[in-house]
Amino acid sequence: MAKLFTRTESLYDLPTHYCPGCGHGIAHRLIAEVVDELDIREKTIGIAPVGCAVVDYDYWNFDCSEAAHGRALAVATGIKRVRPDNIVFTYQGDGDLAAIGTNETIHAANRGENLSVVFINNAVYGMTGGQMAPTTLLGQKTSTSIEGRKKEKHGFPLKISEMLALLPGVCYIERVSFYSPAEVLKAKRAIKLAFENQINNLGFSLVEILSPCPTYWGLNPKEALDWIRDIMQKEFPLGRIK
């Protein structure tokens, strides 16, 4: 009898530490499935972020390193330049990639480092308790924008993916979403392409995922998915950016 599905080797069989309705677990699984499907588990090196997903290496069955907040792409650059035959990716949130690490992000992209980036945009700082992120929407309430983000006071949601698309060193950028199973499958295809690009030495690839954070959006898990579809995607339209 043909086996249709087996346990994903790159993902340990563990209970999750994430909140109900969080997108990190989905993203972890998609990466693990892509690594298995491309048969690169034994040469993959992942860089963990600082934030809720700092212990992503507890879930993944391949080599990983932590990086200081915002420095993942500098760390990844060091690893990839020393070991060009390994597959190196970073997993970063919006604060990590688009606030404290903006410089490292832009310059790694501009050097065309042959790396893959999975960028989790949930429009909020999760681990520290729901503060305003660079990608927080106008009007969105957080613990540091209690009346909602105001453009006069806080500036605008930062569209880092569109900014990066301007750089010649960047090979591929796509924004995807977790609001429905069909979109999750599209997200997996995008992650796979980002890894394949690296295998084919095509340069810097980034997949931005609009990912739910029900806890700090003050919504239940179903409402959080609806909010991505109805509100967040208006500010951050889905699709291939480059």
Partner: protein
């Protein structure tokens, strides 16, 4: 056969020492007075088969070094005082993840942007760890271009042996001055590291981390760091005693300052003055054993290009047994031979 010597600057000697030690990854950011290192690495690493990156910032450079070391490379970054302040975040992470790395600080005047004159005012920062958390670096202070070459080579071995960051602490004079240097041959292979990230083929995944959330886990881990520090403190003390027998005054200095102090000692001795010099080479671990003289009348005179930093460690080592005097200049000032001689004459 007499070995051939080359005439190079301290900065170039550090860069060549790194290459000859098998350094295969360098990242840096321009800052005076150490720019010859990044230029030298940029030119020569390509030839030696290594990687040299001009990073977008000091932060990026030290974190690239973190990544390269995590991947098993022999890696180095270099900078000068303001840039070293920026690197402290990464140095703390390197120490926390028990990664080997070499960091060069060619010190200039501070605080703030300061100036580009030579200085030794980063002693506290270097010898106390510099960043957040309970950790130390091995700190080595060369006093000649030849020694800059040799200690840089040594620093890669120490970094790998103890899995700890090692700092070469020089100053603008040492970095810029040229002297003849005898080079040794390049090492053939760098050590394999079973803990490094290389892909998990045939083994369990390796994780490079400094995060210990479980209650008590960080305390337990930090005890292993402290144990390592204790072993290093026993094994890696380095200093040189010059003309100390019968001395009534022992000068204490390191780096360029020790060169000037040595000249003062030679002049004073030629005039029959009983003066010697303790030249410190390892600043951490601090050579406490250099200060165990039984002569209660011996006076120590610590000389620094700072407002007085190392003198605190000298006082701790002497522990009240002998008087400890200080002569120093700050903000790029360098105590002269004459100033030292005058101070010594007052003490004799």
């Amino acid at each position: 056969m007499k070995k051939e010597k080359v005439l190079i600057s301290g900065n170039e000697a550090i860069a060549q020492g790194a290459i000859d030690a098998g350094c295969n990854f360098y990242a840096g950011y321009p800052i005076t007075p150490q720019n010859e290192i990044i230029a030298y690495m940029s030119k020569h690493m390509a030839v030696s088969g290594g990687v040299s990156i001009q990073a977008e910032s000091e932060l990026a450079a030290i974190n690239m070094v973190y990544g390269a070391s995590a991947a098993g490379a022999r890696s180095m970054t270099s900078s000068s005082s303001p840039g070293i302040s920026l690197k402290q975040e990464g140095i703390s992470y390197i120490a926390g993840a028990q990664l080997p790395a070499v960091i060069v600080n060619i010190m200039r005047g501070g605080p703030g942007l300061g100036n580009i004159a030579p200085s030794q005012a980063d002693y506290f920062q270097a010898t106390r760890g510099g960043g957040h958390g309970d950790y130390r670096l091995i700190v080595l202070a060369p006093a000649s271009v030849q020694e800059a070459y040799g200690l840089t080579r040594l620093s890669f071995d120490l970094a790998d042996k103890y899995r700890i960051p090692v700092m070469i602490l020089g100053d603008g004079i040492l970095g810029q001055m040229m002297e003849p240097v005898e080079l040794a041959s390049k090492i053939k292979t760098i050590p394999q590291k079973s803990w490094a990230l290389s892909g998990c083929r045939g083994r369990k995944p390796n994780i490079v981390k400094s995060f210990f959330l479980r209650e008590g886990a960080l305390e337990e881990f930090n005890k292993t760091l402290q144990k390592n520090h204790e072993i290093i403190s026993k094994n890696e003390i380095r200093f040189e005693g010059i003309n100390l027998s019968g001395a009534k005054v022992a000068l204490v200095a390191y780096g360029t300052m020790a060169r000037i102090a040595k000249n003062a000692v030679v002049k004073l001795r030629s005039n029959g003055k009983k003066v010697g010099l303790i030249r410190l080479i390892s600043l951490w671990p601090f050579p406490k054993s250099a200060f165990n003289s039984k002569d209660k009348k011996l006076k120590y005179l610590t000389i620094e290009m700072s407002a007085g930093q190392m003198v605190e460690d000298v006082r701790l080592a002497v522990n009240g047994r002998n008087p400890v005097e200080f002569l120093g200049r700050s903000g790029g000032g360098v105590p002269t031979e004459e100033e030292i001689i005058n101070k010594v004459k007052k003490l004799l």
